[in-house]
Amino acid sequence: MSLESKLEALLFFKGEPMTKKKAETALDCTREELESALISLQTVLANRGLCVISNGDEIEMRTAPDMGEFIMKMTKEELKSDLGRAGLETLTIILYKHPIKRSEIDYIRGVNSSFILRNLLIRGLIERMTERDDFLEQGRGFLYKPTINLLAHLGISKIPDLPEYAKVKAEFESFAREEGMAEIKEKNEW
């Protein structure tokens, strides 16, 4: 009974996203062992009807991307979840840069995002990173990140599969650097 088979059974049985931490406990293994079992499982599942989807710290078993169309047709299930312009923009920002604070999203969009974030949270497309009170009391606000369900809607099984992911990530880093430089410059010259 290999670890990857146990992981497969675990994810199937669970039927919803599970944190890697919980998977480690259930499988009684280390993070390294889990990650390597995850890779083996993904390899085994390639070209099959199922896949493992991950948003970084959670994993879930889902139907494979190629199956989406056939299942949708079968269930005649309509994806009512229509997304507005503002909602999609906010999701895009969170997908490419997370964890992210609301103030950062406001800064990029130039508008208060509270209501959109609330709506996306309720729809289960994004989630808050922490519910730790001490964190909130420091006035640092919540951190937001994409849910597995959001990736599933896009037909993507892991964050790095997003279009131009590595490039955009690098751009954000250089943006933060430039911004930081500007701040330092300001402080020194004042």
Partner: protein, 240 residues
Amino acid sequence: MSFTVKQEHFEGSLELLLDLIEKRKLFVSDVSLAKVADDYISYVKDLSEFPLADSAHFVLIASTLLLIKSKSLLPTLDLTTEEQASIEDLERRLRLYERMRKLSHTLRPLWGQKMLFARGERELLPVFSPDDSMTISNLLSAAYHVLSNIPKKEFLPKIIMDKVISLEEMIMNLTKRISASLKMSFKEFTGGIEKDKKVNIIVGFLAMLELVKQGIINVRQEKHFEDIHMETENVGVPKY
């Protein structure tokens, strides 16, 4: 040529700015920002009917556009380091927003096309298993916690208000500086295009500053009304 934007509702301040630039088929730069400043400001002037929480973001960007426009009209106008930084910051933000918006257009067609479905629900066999936290007093305090997290109507955070007020001061200050600079460097205008024309542009611009000032005063009055919804979570204020 100016573009009418009044009929459309723009949710985001950067969304409006980027639309104005794209309609003119320009790239993000200080030059293009100076060109769209008038259109943007005329939109913001009508914002007093919008909730303050939203219009504040528009007003803050308008202030930076005023600086860019002033500098483009009067290259001799000295900007402070802070003013220069706010211009650079706006350009950077706008490029980032532009990038995100384009990416969102890339993601749009993927939405719901190759959905990865979750496992179907199986029959549940409940086993009654409460945990230790389930006591009457814990439940009541959980109820209070839920109620305290429900979004409430509250005032715009003071920091944004202060920024809006300081914008008003900034406009007055800018008006003075431009007027002074106009007298001091009149020679500037004799070179190049007809000086009358350029002076007219600047006089018109000064008049516009006055109008914007009035608009800001209207916006400020809105704080007397209580209908401003904000999230109760500690509001992070973007820096400008």
